[in-house]
Amino acid sequence: MSIVNPIPVGDGQPQDGGGKPGASDLSFAQFKALANAMPNLAWMADADGWLVWYNQRWYDFTGTTPEEMAGWGWQSVHHPDVLPEMLRRWTAALATGEPFEMTFPLRRGSDGSFRTFVTRAEPLKEGGKIVGWLGTNTDITELERTRERLQLVVNELNHRVKNTLATVQSIAQHTFSRANPEAYEAFEARLLSLASIHDALTREGWIKASLSEIVGRATSCFGGDRFLIEGPVLDIEARMASSLTMTLHELCTNAVKYGSLSVPQGSVSITWTVEPTGPRRELRLLWSETGGPAPTPPVHNGFGLKLIKRAPASDSGASVDHRFEAHGVECEIRLPLGEGLAS
């Protein structure tokens, strides 16, 4: 059979956007010119899913004829492995009137290869009743390949960073572990805490890491049951994630050496909230030690304490308030949150 009755678009009746000059009298020829100019494959179906019209790009890509494609003929350009699931979802959309979206391969006529398309279809309604469907298929093959390549590069980068850190670690171990084992141990612990956050960041494409994972990783090697950790789900930008990890590591180290974790009954609570500050939001993270000896401020600010106070602040306008309270060390970190990342 052949398609004899494409859905006429713009038959002179006022339609959506009809107030604008020219919008109401778009001819079918103009519509076809528009549909053929767009880079997507496009099509129209009637209310029960019978395909009545495709744009020229559909025929060019699939190498088919209108006669072959009419109605449900499009199944012949689908991959047989994916077709059953596609049919199940397409018929479900037809039955419920819900918009359809799915990514699946379509066969290219010129060489028989399959390319990946994201397909979207919207019901066309008149007076609340579905009278047809409008669909597009967008080729995302290159996009997918680029994404895979990018993931490969990120994995490779992570591998190289980790190898370099391991090399530095080995050099340090052979240089001074025998002469100064205590210093080497502190160095190694710092290096490993920095390395551990890389895994979390790599998984998220070096964009962000979840705060609870940052806190969990930083505290895990200091005895997880000594910590009370509580706060809402929140993502932290990559740069901040690294410095926050280092700060938490130093807080843990000091707590084990001098603070609440130096005695069996002591503990640490790490809690955070997100507060509005004007148009933006701010993370407030509180480290609070209890059950340990009363802290005394050190005579000299060691490297650890400098790192605690400065690592987050230098990065992103954060402020750090480190205090020696009667019940133990308290450290409050305030961090302005980026618009896009907080969830």
Binding site: N158, H159, R160, K162, A166, Q169, H174, L192, A195, D199
Partner: protein
């Protein structure tokens, strides 16, 4: 435990040194250290050892054939990798994983797991 003869596959000499130290400091023996795929494959196929510690990336080449050979010979092995969880190969997902950089204790723990 009885000292294990450990086969080490690692192409970075400095990291290999650290692995060897960890093996020997924990009372085990280094049977051989391979720094390239050919050497790794040859020793995996016919070398004399009890367990293996493998870096999966040798000069940019993935050493996929090595664990396959080890598995065929029934030699337990652990991966030492910079790739993290993403670096494990599906057929060898049971093998212990030591993430780089590592503590000596991580290597010792992997050897205990392999030797038991």
């Amino acid at each position: 435990m009885t000292p294990l003869k450990v086969f080490v596959v690692e192409d970075e000499a400095v990291i290999a040194l650290m692995i060897e130290d960890a093996v020997e400091d924990s009372g085990h023996l280094v049977a051989h250290t391979a720094t390239n795929i050919r050497d790794a494959m040859a020793f995996a196929a016919s070398g004399e050892f009890d367990v293996a510690l493998l870096d999966m990336n040798l000069n940019g080449q993935k050493a996929h054939a090595v664990p396959t050979t080890l598995k065929a010979r029934g030699k337990p092995f652990a991966f030492i990798t910079g790739y993290g969880e993403a670096g494990i190969l599906e057929p060898f997902a049971d093998a212990p994983l030591v993430a780089k950089p590592f503590r000596t204790a991580d290597i010792v723990a992997a050897l205990v797991a392999l030797g038991s």
